[in-house]
Amino acid sequence: MIKLTKSFPLVLTLALSVAAAQTLELYNDKPDWNNNYTKVGDLGAKSGAGFKGVTFADPSTYQAAVRTSLSTSKAPAMFTWWSGYRMKDLVESGTLQDLTPIWQKYQKAGEYGSDLAKAFTFDGKIYALPNNVAYWAVFYNKKAYKDAGITPPTTWAQLESNNAKLKARGVTAFGQSVEDRWPAFIWFEEFLTRQDPDLYERLMVGKAKYTDPGVTKVFTTWKGWMDKGYFTPASTGFGSGGTNGMAKLFAQGKLANILAGDWYTATIAGTGMKPGDDYGVFILPTMNAKARPVIIYEASPLIVSKNAANKAQALKVADFWMSAKAQTLWSNLQSFTPVNNEVTVDNPVTKELTSALSKSKPRLINRIWEATPTEIIEPGVDELSKFMLDPSTQTQVQANLQKLADAYWSKQK
């Protein structure tokens, strides 16, 4: 490629004429979050920590763009990513900036707890700021609940009886989807963590097998719900854009519950439903009524590149991002559950979830997408899709999942 430069004077001259970017850019792959990033950046500009969002339409090209440029001076100053194994890859390449000092400053001030940073910590160093910490809970249609004469369940038994009552009225209890591939893992992790969270943790690190009886039981429960008609067909869309599956059914009252990350509240609001009036939220109960409540969380990191040309500015922005001022704006714009202890959010559904979390103090469990190696879960969601579309493939799907796990873990020894 270097040879090309010599025969390439025209291109080089033209390229030089393109002015270097002035404002710091924050890369992300969420088009509908982008304007809000820029709004926070505009607020930061008042204190010399301005930035603007730059969004990529397609998550796969986004990852390629970031990965390829990380080791060069063209590396994005700041960018959003995925925690867990997806982040580990980048940390190991030595291209990420250690952000521990910034965390220490805010933790000392009591604005952040100590748990949160764990998701971004590798070998004792913290390599990211919280972009969003999402809790996975159930959104329910209040009118559908009222019509069926039910209330949000506190036990698994009540959940099952609610499902039956909804079904009797011709309303589907829960949505499930294989659209965009990844939503296939949602119910696998939900059933498993409500049944046996320890088994889930062991499975994630390769100390249990996808063919174990406990995992088989998960598939049996899942299949049971599908047979009883508690789930939408797996072909239902997950989002609100495009073909408009789940959120549309939810708005029409044909679907009573959607289990998703708390960011999904914006998607529901997009159909015209009012948070608090038309829909509410609850945490999926555990199967064993006496067990400690459990909730899946998803920590999405905001990373600073070590090689970025304007790293000094990026560190200033990073400091600003952690402040209560920035987080108040960000959490409210996005209706996110706040991560900074001094922040409150106006959205009634987000408030409801925040108070449910502080009341029940659930055990926090990392989402499967981040908690288990990419090499397993990427092809793994395809296997889970297979099961959802045709539950009779259960044995084969379990065997295939274990094959993927074996292939990965055997290489790690």
Partner: protein, 308 residues
Amino acid sequence: MTVTQQGRTPARRASARRSTAASLAPYLFVLPAVFFVAVFLLAPMLYTFWQSFTDADGLRTPNLVGLRNYAELLTSSNFTLSLRNTLIWVVASVVLPVGLAFALALALERVVGGNFFRTALYLPSTLAAAAAGVLFSFIFDPTSGVLNAALGALGFSSLSQTEWLFRSPLNTWSMIATYTWQSVGANLMIFLIGLQSLPREPLEAAKIDGASGLKFPRLITLPLMTPYVTIAALMAAVNGFKVFDLIWVMTQGGPARSSETLAVTMYREGFILFHQGVSAAIAVVISLIALAFSYFYLRNVMDKESHV
């Protein structure tokens, strides 16, 4: 490829008196185009070829691994499935759009409003494949789509729950239907040119002899149209190989990779799993197959030129 330009056209007497400067002139005309193609297309192609022998992952410095990526392809069930889907695409995109277009071309030749109809049928061809994919995602939607609603209304209630894009191999066929809808127009135009340039005499003779109705096109037109059918078919085959946008927008190759074609598999390996070496190896395989088709296509076109 057996034909060259030299010797076909009248020789230019003046060429003997050319100076060195003049003999350099043709190169000056060709060089800019060659430069662009070499830098932006051929160099990346060569780089991909090299990468197919490495373990590149987009993050670390790649190492040479010999033929390992190719060996991996041979043993991968995903690759085999993808190859099968690609073959379905190639065969179907030759048979359906070309066949349908041929039938329509004959049916719409010299009828009232023929021009208007041809324009209407061509309209979908001006759409982007991505846009057509979005449109038909709405139509194929199992719960709120028009297709299932129509099937239900017509009394086919057992079919009205069909998950068009979620069952294999139905999803591939649904996408081929979309593709056919989009590409019939262009093929129709090719056949129209063919029909217009047919020599009149044998047609008139046949009419006088009493050939009519369905027999007429079959007996007379078909043999005369063979070259056009061949070229349309070869072009359709090359394009069928390259289909990507439509699949990416409609199913992303899913569910469970069941509707992937080689182009999609390659994109997935390179841009989602970051197996860039494997991705490059698939690219080389597709290129070789496409090269073979292109060879036959070019030879056909150039053979025709030599008869002008």
